[in-house]
């Protein structure tokens, strides 16, 4: 049985029957997007891994509650969003930095919690420029309010529809549009020095 070719819903059905390979395929399929969005919300690698692990554990432990009329990935992101927001609200993290978690006081801790923006596919000069641009954007994203940040990441990184974002975040469609509009405006302001305006 080739699990890689199965749909998410088929894998969920098999996982509910106790098929470990199906569950592992779901983890393999979604570990990067879940980790990416959680990481960009908390800016701490260790914490993001712990939270992402919790996301999957909660997801698998509540598979019997999954409503098949929704996309599995939307449900997974909803759990990720709720778990991460709960954690952020408990800790009340301040504005975050691409250079490491706010509570990273030692170089080792900064290294452990910082964003890794390396890319092996680009030439050194291109990589440097891309790293700078990505770093600026990461920094700008980090400066957004957590709900703006989640909405804009789901829209532009995960390319989710407004309806899906509304479902994931549990907010009205109009609020999603407002969040994304304001997030874009704040990002433009933050990136105004390097913003690529191709039109006059």
């Amino acid at each position: 049985m080739d699990y890689a070719e199965k749909t998410d819903k088929e894998l969920v059905r098999l996982s509910r029957r106790g098929d470990e390979r199906a569950a592992r395929e779901l983890v393999h399929r979604f570990e990067r997007p879940v980790f990416s969005i959680v990481f960009r919300m908390v800016r701490d690698r260790e914490l993001a891994e712990d939270l992402s692990q919790d996301v999957f554990v909660r997801t698998f432990n509540n598979l019997d509650r999954y409503d098949r009329s929704y996309r599995f990935s939307s449900w997974l992101f909803k759990i990720a969003y709720n778990l991460t927001v709960d954690h952020l609200r408990k800790r009340e993290l301040p504005t975050i930095s691409v250079h490491g978690a706010p509570d990273a006081l030692t170089p080792e801790r900064q290294e452990a919690t910082s964003l890794n923006l390396e890319s092996d596919e680009e030439a050194p000069d291109d990589r440097l420029v891309a790293k700078e641009l990505a770093g600026e954007l990461e920094e700008a994203i980090g400066g957004l309010r957590e709900d703006y940040r989640t909405a804009i990441l789901l829209r532009h990184v995960e390319e989710r529809s407004y309806e899906e974002i509304s479902e994931i975040m549990g907010i009205p469609l109009g609020t999603v549009k407002t969040y994304i509009f304001r997030a874009r405006r704040e990002l433009r302001a933050a990136l105004s020095g390097s913003y690529d305006d191709s039109e006059d």
């Binding site: 029957r17 106790g18 592992r24 983890v27 990067r32 990481f39 990505a134 509009f181 690529d196």
Partner: protein, 205 residues
């Protein structure tokens, strides 16, 4: 493909500007409007530029072994066959009774067929085909005999006394019924209550 604004004098809707900016194809009316409206063109370009920067963001990857750690923390429901075995292990007397009934049914069928070789499966199949509607009644009679005689040997003796094709079919129907009841009991035993398949969580320290 959407073409939300075909009037060149009306600006494109925000959704249309975003869709086009994020790589969607503009409709004919939208293309005409964009060709003549610098404001909409600029907004589409801004969304496109932002999308390009987001697309260039690094794909973040958890550390090696993340999936293994997740799988070690998750206790999936046991596979169905394993749950069935657990169910069987939980009720030994009932399993023994159901198994013995099933075995008795099979042995009874074999004994009966060997005792009366003239009633071949072919003969029975022909009878079933020709007199299918009478089977229910024959089954009822056969069950009545089983209950009355309360024993396979006595049952066989009763059949021996007035052996005919109908009693053969009736007996077969009875044994089938016994087999079905046995199967039903086994299947009921294999059912596991929802609480037993609740998953547990073990946190990694």
């Amino acid at each position: 493909m959407n073409d939300t604004n075909t009037e060149t004098t009306t600006h494109l809707a925000a959704e249309a500007r975003e869709r086009i900016g994020m790589g969607g194809e503009p409709g004919p009316g939208e293309s005409r409007h964009l060709a003549s409206c610098g404001g909409c063109r600029r907004e589409v370009a801004e969304v496109g530029s932002l999308q390009a920067r987001f697309t260039a963001l690094e794909v973040l990857v958890p550390s090696t072994g993340f999936a293994n750690r997740v799988m070690a923390s998750v206790q999936l429901p046991a596979p169905r066959w394993s749950r069935a075995l657990d169910g069987l292990r939980a009720h030994p007397p009932r399993v023994a009774a159901a198994g013995a009934t099933a075995v008795a049914a099979v042995i009874g069928t074999i004994v009966w067929l060997t005792t009366y070789p003239q009633v071949t499966p072919g003969v029975m199949a022909k009878l079933v085909y020709e007199r299918g509607t009478g089977l229910v009644w024959q089954a009822v009679v056969a069950v009545g005999r089983v209950v009355y005689d309360s024993g396979l040997a006595t049952l066989l003796e009763a059949f021996r006394a007035d052996l005919n094709a109908w009693s053969a079919v009736g007996a077969l129907a009875t044994l089938t019924l016994v087999g079905m009841v046995s199967m039903w009991m086994l299947l009921k035993l294999m059912e596991v209550s929802p609480s037993a398949i609740r998953t547990g969580v073990r946190r990694i320290g």
